[in-house]
């Protein structure tokens, strides 16, 4: 699949944003994050900004962004629609939570309620994002049980890194979050490894022979393409990344996304000086962002759509 930058940025940014929202909500609810106006302002600000930027960026992918509102209508069948609805719905508890933190509660329990609802909403949104991909039977690499969980876990992991950095910048203790985020990171790493193994070993059962129904006559090889220059389908779907190149990117992504932030989390747990903590958190954030961008790029680039068998022959 062609890695669309708008979609990569969208899932990366809003993924981290929702992750951060979950951590803030959980932190506030369970007390390992402060109910502090400044922290609330910045923390919720960053989370919502990332979510909103992501969502807005995603509309860049649209041919008719001005009609984006229509995407909320088909939640009964469409995961994209569900994601849109969930994303919008999430703003409500997130708003309650954020406003409560910054301006104080208008109503008793506002923060707790907001936090209690924000977290599941954010998680649901992340799940929906994952399901947009996981629900497509046409793309083997996406149509995997691990895909939706990965979106959730990676959202939490990347949000965790952000949360850690934020807490540290405000001089708060970040041990719990570092540990929690690190755990999510570890889980993410494990899931991603399993995912890669899964797609590497998945049997390519869709063949040109089956796609054309001509298999009984022998191997099916494309002779002349319908058009000599790539068409929309091939531009959108026909993207192919070289195997060796992908391997390299995978290890780099794994290092940036998992290894370095995990190491950072461990370092933070041994309590280095505050300034160093900040630096570590900043580096971890940068590394994580680069890593997740790469991971998302690969998620597209490595995914093969069944339609390629019509154009290239072989199997998918």
């Amino acid at each position: 699949m062609h890695p669309a930058y708008s979609v990569i940025v969208f899932t990366t940014a809003s993924g981290a944003g929702y992750g951060l929202l979950v951590w803030i909500a959980a932190g506030v609810a369970f007390g390992f994050a402060p109910r502090d106006a400044a922290f609330g302002f910045v923390g919720m600000g960053v989370a919502l900004a990332m979510i909103t930027t992501g969502l807005l960026t995603s509309t860049l992918h649209l041919g008719r962004p001005e009609r984006a509102w229509r995407a909320f209508s088909q939640w009964r069948t469409s995961w994209l629609s569900r994601e849109g609805v969930a994303a919008v719905v999430t703003y409500i508890p997130a708003g309650l939570l954020g406003l409560g933190l910054v301006f104080g509660e208008f109503a008793p329990g506002q923060i707790v309620l907001g936090a209690a609802l924000s977290a599941p909403c954010a998680l649901i949104t992340l799940w929906c994002t994952g399901m947009i991909y996981a629900s497509l039977p046409t793309i083997r690499a996406w149509h995997q049980p691990l895909v939706a969980p990965l979106y959730v876990v990676l959202g939490l992991a990347t949000g965790g890194v952000l949360m850690t950095g934020l807490l540290l910048s405000f001089g708060h203790d970040a041990h719990w979050i570092a540990a929690g985020g690190g755990a999510a990171m570890l889980l993410g790493a494990i899931l991603k490894r399993l995912y890669w193994t899964a797609i590497d070993t998945a049997k390519k059962t869709y063949t040109a022979e089956a796609a054309t129904g001509l298999g009984h006559l022998g191997t099916v090889r494309p002779l002349d393409p319908p058009h000599t220059q790539p068409n929309f389908v091939m531009r959108e779907i026909g993207y192919q990344v070289a195997r060796r190149h992908a391997e390299k990117l995978r290890s780099t992504a794994a290092m940036l996304l998992f290894l370095l932030p995990l190491a950072a989390a461990l370092l933070l747990l041994i309590n280095p000086p505050h300034a160093l903590q900040l630096i570590i958190a900043a580096l971890a954030t940068a590394s994580m962002i680069a890593g997740v961008l790469m991971e998302r790029w690969l998620f597209f680039a490595e995914a093969e759509h069944v339609v390629v068998v019509y154009y290239r022959g072989g199997s998918a």
Binding site: R70, L223, H227, T228, Q229
Partner: protein, 940 residues
């Protein structure tokens, strides 16, 4: 609300108005309906009533809108202001353009009209252009036929008075076995497709003989991947097998052919190999009843087909068929022998012969149609041998194409399957006499018209256009000893000959609708040199003036001095006439017109009207009235209606006579075009059932054909298995007669002018290392270079590949998409490879005319057509290597002058990694002239 199905407009009319006309996205000439909305073309579909396409349309035809709206359209007359080839032009007015042309042409006509070479390409108005040349007085006229498929036309017309091309068609309804030789698409584009679809549905076996399996070959029941240029061996072996197994329609032979005519056997004599004739000149046959020679055409004799007989003068003569049978039964055509060269297993050859015989002799068709033959005998039923064939350029575009095609007709004839139910059928105006009686006309001096049409059919050396020393009188050397029966001229040689003043220089080269500096010439680099060559002493171009009419920004316009921009096919009148190539079917003689369905939005004029205007300005006889006023002030439409070639015979056969009720013959009818338009822009006459078969010997048909002016006399057309005219040329090469070839040409004439068809290897063999035959095919959705300026069609094919047999490519280390060098004896070309199964292992090929020169056709400089596309034409030599005496013959069939495009031999080599970037050669980019804006955005 969101969940309701939207209301959609289901009954939007397709047009404000639908106009019929005739398509011109190729030469098939289908009937189309042009749907016009807000004055622009919205949609084009096929006309269901039309006899050619019966409602369907092809890939090109349906993309006509984009050709009509192409940014490559010229917009005003141009004159060259920079050096030739620079593409520096100035727009000029029509007045200036026409005055310039008139000035040039007038001077030439007054000095020596032969110094005008007027050659037209893919146009459909040769009745007019040929007449212009005739009235102007130059024999130097021809259209594209010579580089196209004249072998096919000549072989058919000399043999049975018809031809493949679109001059005939299989009896699709009744045929039980269909063989297709060397056809990728052809002129009968839609009819072939329609009928192949039906044959397949009926389970009629379709056999495709073609080195390549695409298109029609892909759906054929059997594909025979023959080695190029060897069909003569294959067909000869089929005849061998039919004779060996005694599956020959002898009755048919003695009834309709000259098989039994006695051929004089007197080696060394001036009439050796000619037919023995009686005092009246009638050919003789040996009558077994009386034991004496008798008029071969008599129906009351029992003609001998075999044996050797004494003539009254004591000399020996044998029926022509004896030598034919001896030739084909010889070992040369034994399937085992032939298998080696053709790459067709002997068993396959035998099986095909068996299948042919089975269809012809065991599945005879009997129709309940009584008919009467020319001898007055009534036949209660029409009986036929349902084997049919079609062939085109795969046979003809080889230097052995004439004889191969003759052999193919011989095969049809020995099976008894010409113009019978289930066989191959004539379309009117055919059959005509074998060959048609008109001979090529000669120049008669300054300001004098020719006495007849420039093109014709020589039958004896005296018909040739040669000087006493044997030198050619025509610029293209047609009808010279180089190509004696060049029925369509040799357009591919004009530029070369004019530039090298061989046989002489010309003053004006006038061309129309032929992209001669690119895809319709051989050896493009040489042609470009010729077009720009200057005389060192005078500094003038050696081809001093070039006038050219094109509608688009082609490669050729950059080399013209004066450019006459044509309209598009939707903007003009045209006439698809019996005087040229009509659109008849076997049961329905038909002709057609094109009407302007939209008006030009630029300063362009229909070329035919321009030519008529030029004729009037030059005061050519027939183009002006007695007072010198223009005869056809209304342009081409006026001419179509009012021009009479001979009294009562004009461009269109339908609705003639003052009342519009006559057919074929009749006075001009002022309302004729209206009547055509009312009928869908065509007119079809349905033949009576008893006129539909055996037209060559069908009394009722031939009389009708004479009445409407297609033929001069209602005499039967006798098939010339033994082709006496060839023997006459041969005799002259043996030193007989007044007109003899120069010594340098004698062995060639002796060898190739064999009155009995035979196979010989094509000439352009290349050196040993050039192991592959390299050929082209027409893509079904592109028409030569016309397709590439069409914004839709070029999306389908914007670049071409070199197709190589997969297994063979492996041995050369070539993989899909690799860049490869293709080398011939005269140069090299680089392109990308594509491997395939369905191609003869010794053959490589590409799609024709996709590659374009940078800057042509209003394409961007990085267009794939020029960066990755390539032409094989650069590799095809126009002149064969030097022979005895240093003379170089053109790369053409020695009999007809047909361009031997498909004799090319090449070697293939993988390009080095640093060469794997773009095609080669690349020429200096062309500079585009000012072009028309795209008028409307209504249709993208």
């Amino acid at each position: 609300m969101l969940n309701q199905e939207p209301d959609i407009a289901l009954s939007e009319p397709s047009a404000d108005e639908i106009k019929t006309t005739t398509c011109y996205m190729c030469a098939c000439r289908c009937g189309i309906r042009v749907h016009l909305k807000d004055g622009s073309v919205r949609y084009i579909d096929g006309n269901r009533d039309h006899p050619v396409n019966r409602g369907v349309i092809c890939g090109k035809g349906a993309a006509g809108i984009m050709t009509h709206m192409s940014p490559s359209r010229l917009r005003a007359p141009l004159k060259r202001i920079g050096p030739r080839g620079s593409g520096e032009y100035a727009e000029i007015s029509w007045d200036e353009a026409l005055e310039t042309a008139t000035g040039w042409l007038k001077g030439v006509r007054e000095r020596d009209p032969t110094k005008l070479a007027f050659f037209t390409g893919r146009d459909q108005s040769q009745a007019l252009t040929g007449w212009f040349a005739q009235q102007y007085g130059t024999p130097n006229f021809a259209a594209h036929g010579g580089f196209c498929s004249v072998n096919m036309a000549a072989a058919g017309l000399y043999t049975f008075g018809g031809s493949f091309w679109e001059f005939g068609e299989p009896d699709w309804e009744h045929t039980k076995y269909f063989m297709l030789f060397g056809v990728a698409e052809d002129h009968a584009s839609n009819p072939l497709k329609i009928e192949l679809g039906k044959l397949k549905a009926k389970g009629v076996k379709v056999v495709a003989v073609n080195p390549i399996r695409t298109g029609y070959g892909a759906i054929a029941d059997e594909w025979i991947g023959i080695r190029p240029g060897t069909d003569g061996l294959f067909v000869g072996a089929l005849i061998h097998e039919l004779m060996r197994t005694q599956k020959i329609d002898l009755e048919y032979l003695v009834r309709f052919t000259n098989a039994h005519w006695l051929v004089i056997d007197a080696p060394g004599a001036a009439d050796d190999g000619l037919f023995a004739r009686d005092e009246a000149g009638k050919p003789l046959a040996f009558d077994k009843n009386t034991g004496t020679p008798a008029d071969a055409s008599r129906i009351d004799i029992a003609p001998a087909l075999t044996g050797s007989f004494q003539l009254s003068d004591g000399r020996n003569a044998k029926p022509g068929f004896v030598a034919i049978a001896e030739r084909f039964l010889s070992d040369q055509y034994d399937p085992e022998t032939v298998a080696v060269t053709t790459a067709i297993p002997a068993e396959t050859i035998r099986r095909i012969a068996r299948e042919l015989a089975h269809a012809a002799f065991e599945q005879t068709i009997t129709l309940d149609i009584p008919w009467t033959d020319t001898a007055g005998r009534r036949h209660e039923k029409t009986v036929g041998r349902p084997v049919s064939m079609h062939a085109m350029r795969g046979i003809s575009a080889h230097a052995n194409g004439f004889q191969t095609c003759r052999m193919l007709h011989l095969l049809q004839i020995v099976l008894g399957s010409i113009d019978c139910p289930g066989g191959f059928r004539y379309k009117a105006p055919f059959p005509r006499p074998t060959p048609p009686p008109n001979r090529p006309a000669r120049a008669t001096g300054p300001c004098q018209p020719l006495k007849g049409a420039p093109l014709g059919f020589p039958q004896v050396p005296e018909d040739l256009l040669v000087e006493p020393d044997g030198a050619a009188q025509r610029i293209d050397k047609a009808y010279s000893w180089d190509a004696p029966i060049a029925a369509h001229g040799l357009m591919h040689m004009v530029i070369t000959n004019a530039a090298t003043a061989d046989p002489y220089p010309v003053d004006v080269l006038f061309m129309y609708m032929a992209n001669m500096s690119w895809n319709s010439s051989m050896n493009i680099p040489a042609v470009l040199k010729h077009l720009t060559a200057k005389d060192e002493t005078t500094g003038e171009y050696v081809i001093p003036k070039i006038i050219y009419s094109d509608a688009y920004s082609s490669e050729m316009i950059a080399y013209a001095d004066l450019i006459l921009p044509d309209t598009t096919y939707l903007e003009r009148w045209d006439c698809i006439s019996f005087l040229d190539r009509p659109i008849s079917g076997a049961d329905g003689p038909a002709d057609a017109i094109r009407q302007p369905v939209v008006t030009p939005d630029r300063d362009v004029r229909p070329f035919q009207s321009v030519l008529i205007d030029l004729g009037a300005r030059l005061g050519l006889p027939g183009f002006v009235t007695d007072t010198g006023a223009p005869r056809y002030p209304g342009g081409y439409a006026d001419y179509i209606v009012n021009h009479e070639r001979s009294p009562g015979i004009g461009s269109l056969a339908g609705f003639r006579g003052a009342d519009g009720a006559s057919y074929g013959r009749g006075a001009p009818n002022a309302k004729q075009l209206e009547a055509y338009i009312a009928g869908g822009c065509f007119h079809e006459h349905r033949l009576a059932p008893d006129q539909r078969y055996y037209k060559h010997a069908n009394k009722s048909y031939l009389e009708w054909s004479k009445d409407v002016g297609f033929i001069g006399a209602a005499t039967p057309v006798t098939f010339q298995l033994y082709l006496e005219p060839l023997q006459k040329f041969r005799l002259s090469a043996r030193g007989h007669g007044a007109i003899q070839p120069p010594a340098s040409h004698r062995p060639r004439i002796e060898k190739y002018f064999d009155p009995i068809p035979f196979w010989y290897p094509p000439f352009d063999g290349g050196a040993d290392e050039h192991r592959f035959s390299a050929i082209t095919q027409r893509p079904m959705h592109m028409y030569h270079s016309w397709g590439t300026h069409n914004g839709w069609l070029r999306q389908i094919t914007a670049e071409n590949r070199l197709y190589i047999n997969r297994a063979r490519a492996k041995t050369l280390g070539i993989a899909d998409d690799d860049w490869v060098w293709i080398k011939s004896a005269i140069g090299r070309v680089k392109g990308r490879a594509r491997l395939m199964e369905g191609v003869n292992p010794d053959t490589v090929w590409t799609w024709n005319a996709i590659g374009r020169r940078t800057g042509a056709a209003a394409l961007a400089n990085d267009a794939p057509e020029s960066t990755r596309g390539f032409l094989l034409n650069h590799l095809i030599t126009e002149l064969l290597p030097e022979r005895e005496g240093g003379y170089r013959f053109s790369n053409s069939d020695p009999i007809t002058g047909q361009a031997a495009w498909y004799d090319l031999r090449v070697s293939i080599e993988k390009a080095k990694p640093d060469e794997a970037n773009e095609s080669f050669p690349q020429f200096v980019p062309l500079h585009a002239p000012p072009l028309a804006e795209i008028k409307s955005e209504a249709v993208p």
